[in-house]
Structures are given as structure tokens and as C-alpha cells.
């Protein structure tokens, strides 16, 4: 459990991989390392978004609430970033995150995250790429669902 380990992790996360090492170190230093037990809620849809997470160990289920109950939209694992949409969208959490296994995650608070992105165009592009990717996935999912209900 030392800063070095988290520093290594952050270097491998696409959004942060292009920022300079001192910024990466600072990110590691300023974030909290948290442990979630299996089944523990990380955040739920509707919460005010105050931070993003990087998964270090374990898997996290992302679900969205629907009238028919929660719908699993994604399962994320090591090196994935969770909850970054809320940070930039200024809207309540759109989805719920629950630890599928025991999870170790690095929590980066909203203002630290925003600060890093603001100071680093490459990170911003990486973030846009992730968002675009996710949008494409969601659109595809919608299309499937629409086809299914017909």
C-alpha cells in the first residue's frame, strides 16, 4: 500500500497516461485508496457526483434504474475509470455502481480531476474518446432494445 503502486496504476490509465509524471504522482498522492466489500454500493443513481474512481482490483457492476428494475449496462475491472461523466456533466449520477467482488479503488475528487483535465489537452482528448466510445455502446444497446420490443 504505497504511493509508488498507485503511481504505476495511474500511469496505465489512458486518461492520465499522457500527463507528466509529477502530475501523475500528485494525483496518486491527492486521491484516496478505498476498499469495498463484495456487494457494497459505491454510489447510486441520483447521488450528487463528487468523485471519480479508478478500479485497482476487482470488478464493479454498473446498472441503471428502469421501471422494471435495475438494468446491468456494464461491468468494469482493473484500470477502468468509473463515474467521470457525472463530474463533467454537472448532473446527478446516471447509474449505480456496486462492487461485484471485493474492490480496491482509487477515488479522485471532482475538483482534482477537473484540474488535471483542464491543465492537460491530451487527457481531455482521451476523456472525449472514452465518452464517445461509451455513447456508441449505449446507442447500440438502445437500438437492440428497440428491436427487441418491436
Amino acid at each position: 500500500m504505497s504511493l509508488e503502486q498507485e503511481f504505476e496504476l495511474i500511469r496505465r490509465v489512458p486518461i492520465f497516461s499522457t500527463t507528466d509524471p509529477s502530475m501523475q504522482k500528485l494525483l496518486a498522492f491527492s486521491s484516496d485508496r478505498l476498499t469495498y466489500e463484495e456487494g457494497q454500493l459505491m454510489f447510486s443513481a441520483g447521488d450528487p457526483p463528487d468523485s471519480a474512481y479508478i478500479v485497482m482490483e476487482g470488478e464493479v457492476d454498473i446498472t441503471v434504474p428502469t421501471p422494471k428494475g435495475p438494468l446491468l449496462v456494464n461491468t468494469l475491472g482493473r484500470n477502468d475509470v468509473i463515474g467521470e461523466i457525472g463530474i463533467f456533466g454537472d448532473v446527478p449520477r446516471t447509474a449505480t455502481a456496486v462492487a461485484r467482488t471485493r474492490v480496491e479503488a482509487l477515488r479522485i475528487s471532482r475538483d482534482v480531476f477537473v484540474n488535471v483535465i483542464r491543465g492537460n489537452p491530451d487527457s481531455a482528448i482521451a476523456l472525449v474518446r472514452i465518452l464517445a466510445d461509451r455513447l456508441a455502446k449505449t446507442t447500440a444497446q438502445l437500438r437492440r432494445m428497440a428491436a427487441g420490443t418491436k
Partner: protein, 906 residues
């Protein structure tokens, strides 16, 4: 209030001034005798003029009056005296001389103290009178006058008055007496020379004050300038947010600088004139001797005057300028003080000041009975002759809940303020329960009515004091005094009486428990709790209580209860699902969620003196412990690594980056210095660095929390050595430092730590998701089970709210104000947008709770959200100062009238 200063002085201190006069006269007489006595000592006793023979004796203390010729001449023998020989006569005379000096000194002491008292009493009276007038200002006045200016006037501007009052009448009397004597002496010696002296004095007395008139105008301007400066500074402080938000700091700098410039200009002129006058005055004084020498000399040469007289005249004139000069100074001071007085009194003279009867203290006034609120023809004229409220009339029962609605500028604010009798209506009547309260004393309105405005003010005391503030109309229980305190109290009473100040005792218990439905302080807490629950503030106060560090001696059973809660908490934390959430203090273990300082002390520092965390490395005893346990060098190395890491992490950040504030051990301003020091360390090696650098490095690791900072600088071996040092620290702690630290002891209450820390007896672990929230919930449960909640709330009530309640959130401030009004159980509760700052959900709940609590009691509530009016039995709809319609909300809503318009306006 007296328009002129002397009117004020004569009216209130004539008697005391007159009492001093005989003392002054006596003092002068004795003074003349002490001047005369040395002559007798030299001529008679020493030179022995009256002792022609060794055996001759002279009567000492013979009282022998020679009557003037118009009384028939002759003499009167009152006392024959004691016959004394030469030596005893000398001794007797010299001792008489000493006695006279002592008596005169005593008299002067007495005169000066009496003058001092007199002045201070008058100052006290004036200040009290001014403050009394502030309290009686109509509220509209406060919109035009700056609070800081009022404060300067009462505090600073009238201050010189105290010094002057004692001098005001006696000094001119005394000095004029002296000057006249000298003048008459000269006149008596020689008429022409006397005329010269008189001429110079008259010139001085005539010209100088005339020149000074201009000085006075300048002094007036200066006073005004200084007062406005005080007002402007307070304004800038009040508007600090706007200054920062709009980058107007330089605008403000320029403004203040121009003010200072103007004051300087006035001062500059002032000094120039002042010293010119001084020059003239000195010149005039010096001209007289010139004339004496010239004219007197001529007369002597002519043989019309003998030289002895000329010398006597010049000597007498030498004594003349000093009283004259002092007299002129006195006159200067008089004018100065007179201006200050007039200016201050002008500011405090208001035409529509509230008459004193309205605020007269009444122990238990007749309050309105049952019935209704009847308002008829209520009108309020605005400043420009417009009618802010125009003949409003309505009648509702005292058991009704009334909503007042209206768009912006409809007059709902003015209407509620008039209902609360905070502004007196221009015409019309307000009757409550059959009693006309339009002009009722505040003793009635302040008890029967409670008004809460949109931005209520909290006084910078505790939450409890703010809540009870509405119940402090009149002392209910006298304070008891004994011994010295009784004497002091009686003295204070006498002085208060002499200066026409209030005789009500501030130390008495002013809280009217009965009005709140309680019998005393103890069940008052229950009433407060109810009010807090109604406004949903109980939870907030409970949290504040948890965060307070209190002396358990003030709360009975607190220490035991906290220890019980600590145990209950330990049991719960031992459950598998909770394990690891809190790292508890253990004398034999290093706590990785606590700072190194806490681990070393194994306790909480008391106060900021001995073991303050910020300065721990500078404490001589801590250093000794570190040296003895061999930790000093390791800590130094650790500090060095920490400094390197910090420099590496933070050097790249732009200036002013928030990370410095939040994460760095080193302040941004210190970073270059630390860098330079690291350079020195690289050159000289860690062992050879200077003391200052050592101190700096040694201080760094103390704030490190291994679990949070994860810097990997501590291993288990190091932890073990800290534990060893912990033991040494406690064992050898010098007795005089014993009160500097409260050790962690599972069996003891820690008075230096907050209640929450006491109950947890450990640190919430970082790295456990939602640990704080879960611990918080558990804490609530435990305290509820142990029935400790009321006690914690009671501790939270002692929380200091800060200036203007600034340490509370604005919504909480409003809640305190509403609770304060509720606690009073008023006949009529009036709220003017009192909950407008709360979020919608809280508003809904607050309205529901409050109306439930006030069921069957009168409530008037000016609402900005019309939908809330549905819950009220009656609705008044205002439209440009007029009552447009009234009735049940449901009926009016669809009626197509004013409410319909209001609801559909947006």
C-alpha cells in the same frame, strides 16, 4: 438633549462643581501662606530679628486680627499662642511649613480625584444617553446611518469630554483669579505700566480666540472626515465578498487613500494656523517686557518711577503669562469639545425618536386576551409621499393561520412589520384581542408579538443565548451578592443612579421561563428541544454538540455517559462487518490513521501552548525525548525525504494552485526556501546542516498520517521505536508540562477532545469506503440507545454562532430565529419570508411543522411561494399596498381575482 455643552454640564454637574470650589479656595489660601512662611522663617527664626536676647520668647500661633479703620480700628485678640525660644520657634515654624505642604497636597489630591470622578460620571451619562437614543431610533433611521459611525461617536468622539468636564468651570475660575491678582498688583504699583500689561492681555484675549475660529471649522471637518473614514472601513469589511468578486480592491484603495489625503490636507492647514497663532501669542507676551524696559526705563531716568517698582512690575508680569496662556488653552479645549459635543448631539437628534415611555421596563404588563386581530384603515406613507400600505382593513380570529401573498413590492413586508409594530403606521389601528396595540409600549408588543424577517440577526453568543434572547424583557430573578461583590454591586447601583442610567441589574436572570411554558432553566431545555424539532434544527445542533470539546465538570454525568457510549461503540466496532472502520487508540500499537505527533504524545494537546502540533518539534522536552530515544536522526532523514517528495510533487504546479492548501505539508511561499535548503543538504550532507534547517526538517514528519499519505516512509521497526519514545515521553514528563497534554486512556474522559473523538476513542480509518457515514450512523444509534441525545444537543446549544451568526449556515440562522420566536409563545407569530432561503422540501416541512405546533394560535406568514398558502386557513392577497382580496386559498384560486392573477403571472 441639551444643545450646548455648558447647558449639559450645568444641568447635571452644577452641584458637584460647586462642592469643589471651597476646596480650591482653601488650597489657594494655604498656598499663599506657604509663600509667606519662608520669609518669617528666614527673617525671624534664623536671623533672629525678633530675638534680641537669648532669653527672649515669641508667641507662636498667636491669632491677632487688626481691624481696618472703617470698622473702628483697634485689634482683636483671639489666641495668645505659645511662648517659644529661638530654636524651638524655628522648629515650630518649619514643621508648620511641612504641615501646610502636606495639607495642600492632600487638598490637591482631593480636588483632582473629584474632578476626575465628575468628568467620568458626565462621560458615562452622555454615553448612556446616546446609546439610549440609538435604541429609540425609528428603524428607518438605521438605513441612513452607518453602524460604525454610531460606534465611533459613542466611543471615541465623546471621550475628550470626560477630561474637560472636570476642568470646565473650576479651571477658568482658578486661572482667572491668579491672573487678576497679578494684574492688580501691577496696576497698584504703577498705573501706566499696568495699563500696558492690561492692553497686551486684552489684545491676546481678543485677537487669539478670533484667529482660532478658523481652526475650529477645520477641526469640525476633520472630525467628520475621521468619522466617515470609520464608516467606510466598516463598509468595505462588510462588503468584502463583493470587493473580491468584482476586483474592486484597488478602487477601494484609491477611495480610502483620497479620504486620507483630504484628512491630511485638513490637518496640514490646521497645523499651519495653529503654529502661526502660537507665534503671535508668544510675540505679544514678549512685547510687554520690551515696553516696560523702554517706557519704565524712560520714567526711571526722568525720576518719575523708582527702580524697585519697575523690577517688581516686571517680576509680577513674568507670573502673568502662564495663567493667561493656560486660560487661552482652556478656551481652545472648550471650543474643541463644544464642537464635538454639538456634532454628536446633532447626529443623535431625531424628530421621530421613539418616546421613552414606549420602552419603559414593565415587570408584567397587561397582555392582549382572546379574540381576534382587527386591522382597520392601516396606512403607511413612504418617503416620497407615496403610500406603501393603503388603508388595509381585515379581521381574523386569534386561532387562525393567515398567509399573506403578493408579488414583489406589493407591500407584504411593510404589512408584516407593521403587524409586528416594528414600524408605526401613519394612520389606522391594529387591535389584538381587544387591545389597541398601535401605540402600545414595547413591553406589550415585544411579548405578545414575535416577528421573524427574511434575514434575521443572531448575536455573537451561543445558540442557546440566541434562542432565549426573545425572553429577556425584564429581570425575573435578582442576582444574589455577598461580601465584596455586594459592596461592588451597591457602588455600581449608586453610580448608575447618579448618572440616570438604568438600575436594572444585568447579572440578574432575565429569562422569562414562564412565558416559554417552563418553570426554570432545567425544563427550559425541553422547550428549546421542542422548538428545535419544529424547525428541524435538532440534528444540526446534535452534530455541533458531537464536535464540541467540553469540560465534563459543567455537565453532570457526561463523563460516565461518554465512557458508556465508548464501550458500546467498541462492542459494535468489534462486529465482523464493522471491523477496520475505526482504528482505536492502543497504548501498545502505532495508530496508522493518526499523525505521528498524536502517536508520540499518545494524547491530545491541551491549549496551544506546550504541545501544539504546529510547534511540537520546537518543544525542548520533545526534543530531549527524541534525542534520548535516538529518533532525532531518523526523523531528520524522514523530514528530508518528505521535503524532497513535496518539492517533486508540487514544484510543477502554477502559483496559487489549490493543491498547496489541501495536500502539501509545505506552504507554497516556503517552497523556494525548502528547495534552497535541499540544495544545502546535498552540498553539506544531512549531518552538517545548520540549526534552522534542522528545525525545519524535523517539524515536517509530525503531521504525517501513514494510512492517508501512503508515502511509505515508515516501517514497522520505526513504528516500534516511536512506541518506545511514547513510553519515555509519558514517563519523564515534567510536572509543569503535565497540564499540556491529555493522554488517551480508555477509562478516562478526554476533556481536550471533541465528544465524537471521545466516543470513538480512535481514528476513522481511511481507505474504508463510506467509513465516516457508517460510523456516523452508528454513533447516532448508540447515543439514542443510551438516551444521551438530549445531553449532546444541550452541549451543542453552547456552540458560539460567531459574528452575525456567521458560523452557522444561513438556513440554520433563519431556523434559530424562528425557534427563538416560537419559544416566546407569542399571541401573534409573524413571519416575513422567514423560510425563503430554505430549499423547497425543507420549506414544506417547516410550514407543516410550524402550523401544527401553532394549532389554535395566531400565525401571519408572508410567503413568496403561493402554493404554501394552501395550508393556511385564511389568505390575504396584497397588490401594490392594497388588500386586493381575502378568503380561503382554495376559493380565491379559481375566482379570477388577484390571487388568480398572481398565480398565473409567471
Amino acid at each position: 438633549m441639551e444643545r450646548s455643552l455648558f447647558g449639559f454640564i450645568l444641568r447635571y454637574s452644577k452641584r458637584e462643581q460647586l462642592l469643589i470650589v471651597p476646596l480650591v479656595v482653601a488650597s489657594m489660601l494655604i498656598y499663599f501662606v506657604t509663600l509667606d512662611l519662608p520669609k518669617a522663617i528666614i527673617n525671624e527664626a534664623i536671623q533672629g530679628k525678633r530675638f534680641p536676647e537669648a532669653s527672649s520668647a515669641v508667641a507662636f500661633l498667636k491669632v491677632h486680627l487688626t481691624l481696618p479703620a472703617f470698622l473702628g480700628g483697634g485689634s482683636l485678640h483671639l489666641f495668645d499662642g505659645f511662648p517659644l525660644h529661638q530654636l524651638p520657634y524655628l522648629v515650630a515654624l518649619t514643621f508648620a511649613f511641612l504641615a501646610l505642604i502636606v495639607v495642600n497636597g492632600g487638598l490637591k489630591f482631593q480636588i483632582n480625584t473629584m474632578k476626575g470622578w465628575l468628568g467620568e460620571r458626565m462621560l458615562r451619562r452622555l454615553r448612556y444617553a446616546l446609546f439610549d437614543r440609538i435604541l429609540r431610533f425609528p428603524l428607518a433611521r438605521f438605513r441612513r446611518v452607518k453602524s460604525a459611525e454610531l460606534a465611533t461617536m459613542v466611543k471615541d468622539e465623546v471621550e475628550p469630554l470626560g477630561g474637560f468636564v472636570g476642568e470646565s468651570l473650576i479651571t477658568p475660575l482658578f486661572l482667572a483669579g491668579e491672573a487678576l491678582t497679578a494684574l492688580f498688583f501691577i496696576l497698584f504699583q504703577h498705573v501706566y505700566l499696568g495699563m500696558i500689561a492690561l492692553g497686551v492681555v486684552v489684545a491676546q484675549a481678543f485677537i487669539i480666540p478670533r484667529l482660532r475660529r478658523q481652526l475650529l471649522t477645520l477641526a469640525k471637518e476633520r472630525q467628520l472626515g475621521a468619522r466617515q473614514l470609520a464608516g467606510r472601513i466598516a463598509e468595505v469589511a462588510d462588503g468584502a465578498i463583493e470587493v473580491h468578486a468584482h476586483d474592486t480592491s484597488n478602487y477601494e484603495r484609491a477611495e480610502i487613500s483620497s479620504r486620507l489625503g483630504r484628512i491630511f490636507r485638513i490637518r496640514f492647514e490646521f497645523y499651519q494656523r495653529k503654529f502661526l497663532i502660537k507665534f503671535l501669542n508668544n510675540f505679544l507676551s514678549q512685547v510687554a517686557p520690551f515696553l516696560f524696559y523702554l517706557i519704565g526705563g524712560y520714567l526711571v531716568i526722568q525720576g518719575k518711577l523708582d527702580i524697585g517698582t519697575l523690577v517688581a512690575v516686571i517680576a509680577a508680569y513674568k507670573d502673568l503669562p502662564s495663567p493667561i496662556k493656560e486660560l487661552i488653552d482652556w478656551d481652545q479645549q472648550r471650543l474643541d469639545v463644544q464642537i464635538k459635543y454639538t456634532q454628536v448631539v446633532e447626529q443623535f437628534t431625531v424628530d421621530d425618536i421613539v418616546p421613552p415611555e414606549i420602552q419603559a421596563p414593565i415587570a408584567s404588563p397587561q397582555l392582549p386576551g382572546a379574540g381576534g386581530v382587527r386591522v382597520s384603515g392601516l396606512t403607511l406613507a413612504g418617503e416620497a409621499g407615496t403610500k406603501l400600505i393603503d388603508s388595509v382593513s381585515f379581521e381574523v380570529g386569534l386561532d387562525q393561520h393567515v398567509a399573506i401573498l403578493g408579488s414583489h413590492a406589493a407591500g407584504t413586508g411593510e404589512l408584516t412589520q407593521m403587524l409586528g409594530r416594528l414600524i408605526v403606521p401613519s394612520s389606522g389601528r391594529i387591535e389584538v384581542g381587544g387591545m389597541d396595540i398601535t401605540n402600545a409600549p414595547e413591553a406589550v408588543t415585544g411579548r405578545a408579538m414575535a416577528y421573524v424577517g427574511p434575514a434575521a440577526y443572531l448575536f455573537p453568543t451561543s445558540v442557546r443565548d440566541n434562542l432565549l434572547y426573545g425572553l429577556r424583557h425584564y429581570p425575573i430573578r435578582e442576582a444574589s451578592y455577598e461580601g465584596a461583590a455586594l459592596g461592588e454591586h451597591e457602588f455600581q447601583l449608586r453610580e448608575a443612579e447618579r448618572t440616570d442610567s438604568t438600575l436594572l441589574d444585568f447579572n440578574a436572570d432575565w429569562t422569562d421561563y414562564r412565558a416559554a411554558g417552563a418553570t426554570g432553566p432545567d425544563d427550559m431545555e425541553l422547550r428549546i428541544l421542542e422548538a428545535l424539532k419544529t424547525v428541524e434544527l435538532e440534528e444540526t445542533i446534535f452534530e455541533l454538540g458531537l464536535r464540541s470539546a467540553v469540560d465534563p465538570a459543567h455537565y453532570s454525568g457526561l463523563a460516565e455517559n461518554v465512557l458508556r457510549a465508548r464501550n458500546a461503540m467498541r462492542t459494535r466496532l468489534a462486529e465482523p462487518s464493522m471491523r477496520g472502520l475505526v482504528e482505536q487508540f492502543d497504548a501498545g500499537k502505532y495508530n496508522r490513521n493518526a499523525t505521528l505527533a498524536e502517536n508520540l504524545l499518545f494524547g491530545t494537546p491541551i491549549g496551544r501552548k506546550t504541545f501544539d502540533i504546529e510547534n511540537l518539534a520546537n518543544n525542548a522536552y520533545v526534543r530531549r525525548v527524541l534525542r534520548e530515544t535516538g529518533l532525532a536522526d531518523d526523523l531528520l532523514k524522514m523530514g528530508h525525504k518528505l521535503a524532497e517528495t513535496m518539492v517533486e510533487l508540487f514544484s510543477g504546479l502554477p502559483a496559487g494552485h489549490e493543491f498547496f492548501e489541501r495536500f502539501s505539508f509545505i506552504k507554497q511561499d516556503d517552497l523556494p526556501e525548502v528547495k534552497a535548503m535541499l540544495g544545502r543538504v546535498a552540498d553539506a550532507g544531512l549531518e552538517k546542516i545548520e540549526q534552522a534547517d534542522r528545525d525545519m526538517l524535523l517539524a515536517l514528519p509530525f503531521k504525517m498520517v501513514p494510512a492517508r499519505h501512503r508515502l511509505g516512509l515508515m516501517d514497522e521497526a520505526f513504528e516500534a521505536r516511536i512506541l518506545q519514545a511514547r513510553g519515555t515521553f509519558a514517563k519523564n514528563l515534567p510536572a509543569e508540562m503535565r497540564d499540556g497534554v491529555e493522554f488517551f486512556d480508555v477509562e478516562r474522559y478526554n476533556g481536550a477532545a471533541s465528544l465524537q473523538d471521545n466516543i470513538l476513542f480512535g481514528k476513522v480509518a481511511t481507505g474504508q469506503a463510506q467509513a465516516s457515514a457508517r460510523i456516523g450512523a452508528m454513533l447516532h444509534e448508540v447515543l439514542a440507545e443510551l438516551k444521551m441525545r438530549p445531553q449532546v444537543v444541550s452541549i451543542g446549544l453552547s456552540y458560539q454562532v460567531g459574528v452575525g451568526g456567521g458560523r452557522l449556515a444561513s438556513a440554520d440562522r433563519q431556523k434559530v430565529a424562528i425557534a427563538r420566536a416560537l419559544l416566546k409563545r407569542p399571541t401573534v407569530l409573524i413571519l416575513d419570508q422567514a423560510a425563503a432561503g430554505l430549499d423547497a422540501g425543507s420549506q414544506n416541512r417547516l410550514v407543516a411543522n410550524l402550523l401544527e405546533t401553532r394549532k389554535g394560535c395566531s400565525v401571519f406568514w408572508a410567503l413568496h411561494r403561493s402554493d404554501l398558502a394552501e395550508r393556511f386557513g385564511h389568505t390575504l392577497v396584497m397588490e401594490r399596498g392594497r388588500l386586493a382580496e381575502q378568503g380561503r386559498f382554495a376559493d380565491l384560486k379559481g375566482g379570477g381575482g388577484a390571487l388568480h392573477k398572481l398565480l398565473n403571472a409567471g
